[in-house]
Symmetry: D2
Subunit: 333 residues, 4 copies
């Protein structure tokens, strides 16, 4: 019973079926019928005209977005615990050709306007220091917290004041929307977001993420950067088809709700042990080494997360019986 | 009836079935059971220990290989018509951080040792010029010719003499092996090849290519470069599974033979019109604009290839009836 | 008696004296009194507002200019024999983060609008190929020819039509202006040039070149790129002072005229042997190995330039007696 | 009376005289007689064979060194207050093609083995994180402290244990040696340093720094990187000559001793106000805004350094009368 990572989950039936459906002769790269529908599909979802590009990984989506927002001689503000800082092996630096990440603080990997402003205040405005060009936040965060539309909007206002662009790493964007019960528009462009990495893989996809530009002009150069990075798959229709299948009938939301509900059940069982509130599909809890061993002995797999802490991640397909079993096992500790 | 591109072909049933089979919980990235089998599977195929990495595109495979073989201040010899020069939007330059491509000449996009030596002779050995570090050849070439094992070995010897590494872009490696009826070993490391981009997508895969290092040491840094480029898919098992399924029972060879046979049939029909010999799955033929229009009017799609020429590409799933129809239509021109 | 290179020449007294004059306490980097005068000094010279940055080498000036004009996924048209292609060890690729150079043809390293247009016609307008963003010409060329204002203007018009920027590598700009007896404005911005590398080192400076932007907006990001490349010298006043001293009283023109005159004298003597017309300070002549040896035996040093050819370069301080001696020695061959 | 920066100081007579001496025809780039003597001169000084390259700035020296020691997918440990992090506009990221800096803590910008080890312990050894390849320390530090040979050796041992290379930013190396009265060898390669940026500009040079490789193999690729970065000046003899002139008769040491002595005099006067011990040529002292204003009213210029603090920098040519006047003025506060 694995609670390691939503990356380890299976693909949902809709995504798999879409591959079969797309398995026909069509034009290569992104010239096919499925890819051609992406802009419209996301524009409908976001209630505004957007440009949407498929890519195979969240790292590629994030890095292409950041390269669109920040020159090589600039910097990007993010949280010290951000995925782009810790888990992408320097991909932002590779794609931006050497921009720097400025690392901010905040509980649960959340940035506040004050934290960002404090960081900006450390930068001298001269040519000896790279100047900030963008802020990147992760929603839901790497620690399973969500930014509300108001919180994003507060950051968005700060960005506009300072001439910065705002990127959202939405590897778990679906979980955030599901939690907040808000519209995708409210959580993004209406709050000042310029580019969004919209994750599908952790949420039941096989190999497709969407990079959404709310400013169409940013997309143009990105088409070249995507190709140049080897991310313009020659049979791109299989990526587009997965995404379209998960947008249809809000499969993406249904999947995220299932993952969130499973995490909520675990959170309920672990009430006294939570390191952080559980707002999406990740549960961080305090467990002694003996307790962790006891859980593993019962067949539950998960990450140790520093001394005395564990991370449990649920996914769209977390088996209810497994979740219930784990909840009860935690309760018994 | 599309003869545009093997990139536009469907995926073969074995590859699709592999996705279903891999659709289970497993470890993320390349920690899964399928990915773990790649090194062994390719080592068996190549009759020597190799390191094999999956990536999603041939451009990524080529660029990662070149970055392993050439520093930013170096250059790579390739043919003027090479895919890495003309069709990857500068991906080699991106991944190598600015190495240069030195462009050689040769019929049908084939390099000869003489052509390479002539190019090397133009480079002064001083710090004002980037120095050659590698040669990259495409087999089968962009024009559908194949390098024989002897031809590769001649280039391999030159490379060793000059301290250069040898890369083979094998987007259509299967077609070359099928044509030559040689062992994969003969056509690669035994002939001096250091790294091979082994294509599966044009040959019936969905989204997986293999990057093969015959020198294991080259693979280590590439693992970081792959991640850093956003090419370490979190559900990598779907890529590994496709490749394994196509290696099993030589599906890859069977598919390539089918494509080659279809091209041979077209070549036979077009005997008097061939621009180049047909050795793999591409047919370049002379057709007047009126003739091209006539073929299109009968439902055949293909690329114009400069004035008075057309490119027909067959694939693993070229429908025999379509091939026959096209052969006859060409015959009637 | 050395006719190897104008790079090997001494510095002129005005430049050396300027170092002494600048040898006082002042603000570091480019905050000093001398650096502050550069924009005005060059604006006067060019009869329009320009931005002028000092750098230590022509390679830095060229590369910073190209990085300002071309994104990493773009390309720059230049002559096959351009210094930026052959003599800068990939500096343009380093500074642009991997843009490609498209190599054109033309007698004496000169590009024509037709040659540029022919090259542009080879580029497909799709994301698989890097798209041209700039043209770079060298005036005087690497083979000592000059572009007239009309010739530059013809290229400038083509660039504007195609949305390309125009860079001039003016390592020997002074020699070109001296030859043409035109205004610096005529030869640059009035003819459509966007950025100029204005060389001083080959013309009697020690270590300072000027990068001139006729579009001020291009200069802003370049200030960061210069610092980031380690080219913002902490005692920049020594560079600015050299340049100002050579602008004053047209020392730069006087020096260039002297070098041109010396070359003209050699050209006269070598009339029947010239490979190309002599329009600046370089003389390419046909000499047999025996003749070359004979000249060397008389104490003249110069470069062999391919089989049967030699390059003689004069400089601001070519000693009239040496020039005369060489002229006579050539005449005697 | 300026105590702003040693970058703002004049050049010493020996350096200036060397320019005159070098002002003769010679071979371009680093092919001249002066450049040819650098390896020997520094090998003598360091009592071991070294490779020495001139460059025009400390930023270039540091960045070239780091690029030699760390691949694009690696990281470099340095202090949070290091010049390479804060004052080079991302030059290390540019030259390394996107390596990351890992920022450590320590009083007065000094790293300890414990601080480095603590930082290394935060890095997971997997492909998702850039792996450390080098440590960079500044001696004397940005806050005017010095590492003793024993302190460097302790870091050197840690580096060897962990497979890391050790770089020393010696913009004020002369001041450190002068303070410690040790041999250059003791403070560098004998203590485990692999590459040293040996500063001359802050110490009386005009425009030349030396990059010293104690491992000759590291120098080879750096020759290409230097050219590619536009740092191979065509009249490099002027740089080599400055350096040689300052090595001769230990001018570099004499200059540094003078600057250190001036700082010591100020430190003595400011005994109760020192933020940090004064070990080189920088004095950080606590002054109220009113006190700072009072000093400025008496004609002393210096940097404010955060609230309530000021930085005074002395240099080789700090006028004794000015130093004495400032010391007395501080005493009177």
């Amino acid at each position: 019973m694995r609670f390691f990572s939503d990356n380890a989950a299976a693909a949902c039936p809709e995504a798999l079926a879409a591959l079969q459906e797309a398995n026909r002769l069509d034009t290569a790269y992104d010239g096919d019928a499925w890819s051609a529908r992406l802009d419209d599909a996301f524009s409908d979802l976001f209630e505004t005209r957007v440009r949407a590009l498929w890519v195979a990984t969240g790292t590629a989506a994030n890095s292409l977005a950041l390269a669109a927002l920040c020159p090589p001689h600039g910097s990007i503000v993010c949280h010290r615990d951000a995925h782009i800082q810790n888990d992408e092996c320097g991909a932002p630096e590779f794609y931006t050709h050497g921009a720097k990440l400025l690392l901010g603080e905040g509980e649960g990997a959340k940035l506040t306007p004050d934290a960002v402003a404090a960081l900006l205040a450390t930068v001298r405005n001269d040519v000896h220091q790279v100047q900030p060009h963008a802020v990147s936040i992760t929603n839901a965060t790497e620690y399973g917290l969500v930014y509300t539309p108001d919180e994003v909007a507060a950051l968005g206002r700060l960005c506009k004041e300072r001439g910065l662009d705002l990127h959202m790493d939405g590897a778990r964007f679906a979980n955030a929307v599901a939690r907040l019960d808000c519209s995708p528009a409210q959580l993004t462009w209406r709050a000042g977001v310029d580019a969004l990495s919209f994750g599908f893989v952790k949420n039941g996809g096989l190999s497709a993420e969407a990079l959404i530009f709310f400013d169409a002009a940013l997309a143009d150069a990105t088409l070249y950067r995507r190709k140049r990075a080897g991310h313009l798959l020659s049979k791109g229709r299989y990526l587009a088809a997965q995404i379209l299948a998960m947008l249809k009938d809000d499969v993406w939301l249904r999947n995220a709700r299932a993952a969130n509900a499973a995490a909520a059940r675990l959170a309920e069982a672990a009430a006294g042990r939570l390191v952080l509130p559980v707002e999406a599909n990740e549960v961080f809890l305090k467990v002694s080494p003996e307790e962790a061993a006891a859980l593993r002995a019962q067949g539950f797999d998960f990450y140790d997360w520093g001394p005395g802490e564990a991370r449990l991640v649920t996914s769209w397909d977390s088996h209810p019986a497994h979740v219930e079993a784990l909840a009860e096992a935690i309760g018994r500790l």
